[in-house]
Amino acid sequence: MEFGFTFSNTLAAILTIGIISFLWRDNPLYKLCEALFVGVSAGYWFVSLYYQNLLPQLFDKLGLTLIITPHADVKEGALQVLFKQGRFDERILYIFAGILGIMMLMRLFPNLGWVSRWPLAFIVGTTSGLYFTTYFQSNAMAQLKSTIIPLNSINNIVIVVGTVCGLIYFYFSKEHKGVLGGAAKVGTWFLMVTFGASFGYTVMSRMSLLIGRIDFIFSTWLGLVK
C-alpha cells in the first residue's frame, strides 16, 4: 500500500466513500461501486483459480500446458509421456476430473443441466464421507471426552452443567417437563450467555473493520494521523 495523497490512494478513497454513502441513502454512486465490487470479485476468483489451481493441478499434469504453450517451463505431462514415450502415466486419470469439471459447467445450459449432477454427486459424496468421520471424532467425541471431568472446581461444574443442560435443551424427542424441563431451562441460560458473548465479540469485530477503513482515510490517504 502506498502512503499519501496519490492517485491510487485517491481512487481507493473514492471507492470507500462511495460505499459509505449508502449510510445516507441508496444512491447511484453506491450502486456503481457495488456493481464494480461484484465484477472485480468474480474476476479475481476466475484468474486465481486458473493460475493457482487448474494450471498446476490439471493442465500441467495432463500436459495441456505444453500443448497450448510449447515453450512453457513445465515438465512433460501425461499426454506427452503417452504419445512420445508410449508409456502409461497414472496422471492421465486426471482427465476424469477435467471431464467432471466440464460436466459441472453444463449447468449453464438449461437442456444439459442434468449432466452437472454427476460432479455434484461427487462433491456431496466426498464431503459426506469426510464429515461423517471427522465431525464425529472431533466435534462430538473429543468434546464429550473433555466434558467428562472431575467436579472438583466451580469452573469444571460450570462446563459440565452447561454442556449437559445445553444438550438437553436441544433434545426435542420428549416434552420439556419436570427434571428434563428444569435442565432445559438451565440450558437456555447458558445458551443466552453464549449468544450474549458472541454478540459482544461481533460488535468488537464490526468496529475493528470500520476502524481499518477510517485509518485508511485519515492515516494512509490524508496523512493526518501518524
Binding site: A12, S41, V47, V158, L210
Partner: protein, 217 residues
Amino acid sequence: MRREIPLIITGVVGFTYIIQFFIPHWPFNIMEHMLTDWMLIIFAFAIWLGVLNLMKVSLDRISKRTKDWPYALVTILGFLFIVIAGFFFSGGRRFLDPGTPFDYIYQFIYTPLSATMFAMLAFYVASASYRAFRARTKEATLLLLAAFFVMLGRVPVGDAMTSFLPESVRLSKFADWIMNYPQTAGQRAIMIGIALGIVSTSLRLILGIERSHLGSD
C-alpha cells in the same frame, strides 16, 4: 440414469472416505488421494460455474434492458478489467507478484470495496443494539449482561474502570472467565448437537435416503 448414477457416485465416494479413515492402506489410501486431487479440480470448476453464471445473468439483464441494467454492464466491465489484466498483463503465473496490474487492482480497487462493504456493518450493529437489545425477559437480561461484560472486559477501558480492584478480579479477567467457561459450555452443546446432525445427514446422503440435492426430475 439421471438419478441412479449420481446416487451410486455419492455412495461409492462417501464410503471410500469412511473406509479410508479406518483402513488407511492400499487400495483405499490410493483411492482417497486420487479422489481428493480430483475434488480440488472439480471445486475450481464449481466456482468458475458461479462466476460464469453471474456473467450470464448480467448479460441477460443488459439484453432485456431490465431496471438498473447499466450496473450489470459495470459488473461485466469490472470482471473483464481484472481478467484481462490478470491473464495478459501480469506475467502469467507470477500474476500475484507485488507491482503487477493484478496486484494493483487488488490493492486499490478490490480491497477498499470489499473492506468497506463489510465495515458498514459496524453502523448497523450499533443501530440494532439501540433498537432491539432489550432486557424484556430473564433470558434476554442474561444475554444483555454477558454482552455488556464481554464488550467492556475485552477493551482496556474495562480494566481502567475497575483499576481499584485487585488485578485477578478486574473486568478483563471476568470477560476471560465468561469466554472460557459458561460461553465454552454453551458453544460445546451447540457444537455437539451440530456434529450429530452432520453425522446423520452425511449417512442419509451416502445411503441415498436424502436425495433433494439431485433436483426434482
